[in-house]
């Protein structure tokens, strides 16, 4: 494509299939303790890679 470049694909849709194991870190524990961007958490589930 000439006008558009894709930085990231449909990764959220894919994660719906394997997600929900609940093993990842609680978001508020990581750094902020006052807000909760979850998008910077790590996924612990190998199947989601």
């Amino acid at each position: 494509m000439e006008h558009i470049r894709t930085l990231n694909g449909a990764t959220l849709k894919k994660s719906a299939a394997h997600g929900g194991c609940g093993e990842c870190q609680t978001s508020c524990q990581s750094a902020c303790k006052t807000s909760c961007t979850v998008a910077n958490q790590k996924c612990e589930n190998e199947e989601n890679r």
């Binding site: 558009i4 694909g9 990581s30 909760c36």
Partner: protein
């Protein structure tokens, strides 16, 4: 739903429901915005509109591939059944000390005692009960988290050490894996404590507000002296010896330092690589509270910070660290922080609260480790919170990144854990835009 924005000179479209992110040139950006203006979020691609330029074909191609204007169908996905269940408790904020050796002016814990007038540390017996409690309540979850918090947790190091030792001695038998973290103001750090923390804590959060004058104005000692000169060398020593383990130097910005990008860069100049600075959470009537009229300046400051960090790739600013492709699964993103259901705070008396920010608020006291009470009606209210039950989040483009904001700050500002704090939302969205733009530029996608 598609969200378009410009940040750092890059034009971006986020396809909210699929997680796809596209970098556009000006022609495509204008074409996409014109399409949304004319046809809304569900445009018809079966016919090329009159006057549409060549970028339209590219938009159509993305649409056909499920990368633009996708629908939110998670609500029907089987995984959503998970949202109806009350999750097991797997993370604790252990308030080992309701006492502090600083007197930070904005402290939500009323400088340690949480407004109780009683300064105390947690006994090992209480901490042991907390460990037993989380092992029992965590069901099949294996990874359990304990954050030593306060007040100032280094004032209760004996309890910290005995708690870690106890948890390690029982985790295998219960098939659990404890991860410890600790949040400290640094005043009591000595060589021995530094080595201990570097060995036992998977993450340490080091509180510092940036430049000396900013830090010392907000974070004085009980005698009114500044704390910067005492703590900075200790933090530097800790970080130098920490190796590759996680840490964050973390501060708070207020109305009194809206030029906080300088504070983040100051962290970097001090040699800290993993850094964060958070908007103050406070009642609206405080002089340092952020106001609606400050939002534009703060947004500009985030963009300024993002631009400056382009030149400092070694610095990891927490809120710009958004992993687009490998972040948490969508299910995690629906529910967010988990306060009050997955995560609880325990006071030195053994009382249980939804999270550290609720401690001392009687209405939200969940129960006690001593009499075995646990009020499920409160925890269920928290368990039901997700981006579909919070009205404002349902239509917000940032919902899968933010996951519904902070209940405590919603309560502090709007008197309701469900109603997002508007200023907080505006800042969250701006941080995300900066984070995504930074990713695009670093991937070489800016012209």
């Amino acid at each position: 739903m598609v969200h378009t924005f410009e940040a750092l000179g890059v034009y971006i479209a986020v396809d909210v429901n699929s997680g796809a992110v596209h970098v556009l040139d000006r022609a495509a950006y204008d074409a996409l915005n014109a399409l949304i203006a004319a046809q809304g979020q569900d445009p018809d691609f079966s016919q090329k509109p009159q006057g549409a330029g060549p970028a339209w074909e590219e938009l159509k191609a993305l649409y056909d591939q499920g990368l633009l204007f996708t629908r939110d169908d998670y609500i029907d996905a089987p995984a959503m059944a998970y949202l109806g269940e009350e999750p097991p408790i797997k993370a604790l904020c252990l308030h080992v000390s309701h006492d502090c050796n600083l007197r930070c002016r904005y402290c939500f814990a009323s400088t340690g005692d949480f407004g109780t007038g009683r300064r105390m540390t947690m006994s090992f017996d209480t901490a042991k009960r907390a460990i037993d409690f989380v092992m029992e309540k965590s069901g099949k979850r294996r990874n359990l988290e304990v954050d030593f918090f306060g007040g100032e947790p280094l004032m209760a190091m004996d309890t910290v050490r005995r708690t870690v030792e106890y948890a390690r001695s029982v985790e295998k038998a219960h098939d659990k894996n404890f991860r410890f973290t600790l949040t400290t103001n640094g005043v009591l750090l000595d060589d021995e404590t530094i080595d201990y923390l570097n060995r036992e804590m998977s993450n340490v959060v080091l509180s510092l507000d940036g430049r000396r004058e900013v830090n010392d104005r907000m974070r004085p000692t009980p005698g009114g002296q500044g704390s910067y000169d005492v703590i900075v060398p200790k933090f530097q020593k800790l970080v130098a010896k920490r190796g590759t383990k996680d840490y964050y130097v973390r501060g708070t910005f207020t109305r009194e330092n809206l030029d906080f990008a300088a504070d983040v860069l100051h962290y970097a100049d001090l040699g800290f690589r993993h850094v964060s600075i958070e908007p103050v959470v406070s009642e609206a009537d405080r002089p340092w509270a952020l106001r609606e009229e400050d939002v534009a300046a703060i947004e500009a400051e985030y963009e300024k910070l993002a631009a400056a960090l382009l030149e400092r790739p070694e610095v990891n600013f927490f809120h710009f660290n958004v992993d687009l492709s490998q972040g948490p699964c969508v299910i995690k993103r629906l529910r967010g922080c988990g306060a009050g259901c997955e995560y609880v705070a325990i006071t030195p008396d053994g009382d249980i609260y939804p999270c550290h920010q609720f401690v001392g608020n009687d209405e939200y006291r969940l129960g006690s480790l001593y009499d075995g009470t646990f009020d499920r009606s409160i925890s269920q209210r928290f368990a039901q919170l997700n981006i579909y039950t919070r009205e404002k989040c349902k239509t917000c483009w940032a919902r899968f990144y933010c996951s519904g904001g902070c209940s405590a700050s919603n309560l502090a500002v709007n008197g309701d854990i469900q109603i997002p704090h508007e200023i907080g939302c505006q800042l969250e969205r701006k941080r995300l835009e900066c984070a995504i733009a930074l990713r695009a530029i670093r991937a070489g996608m800016s012209e």
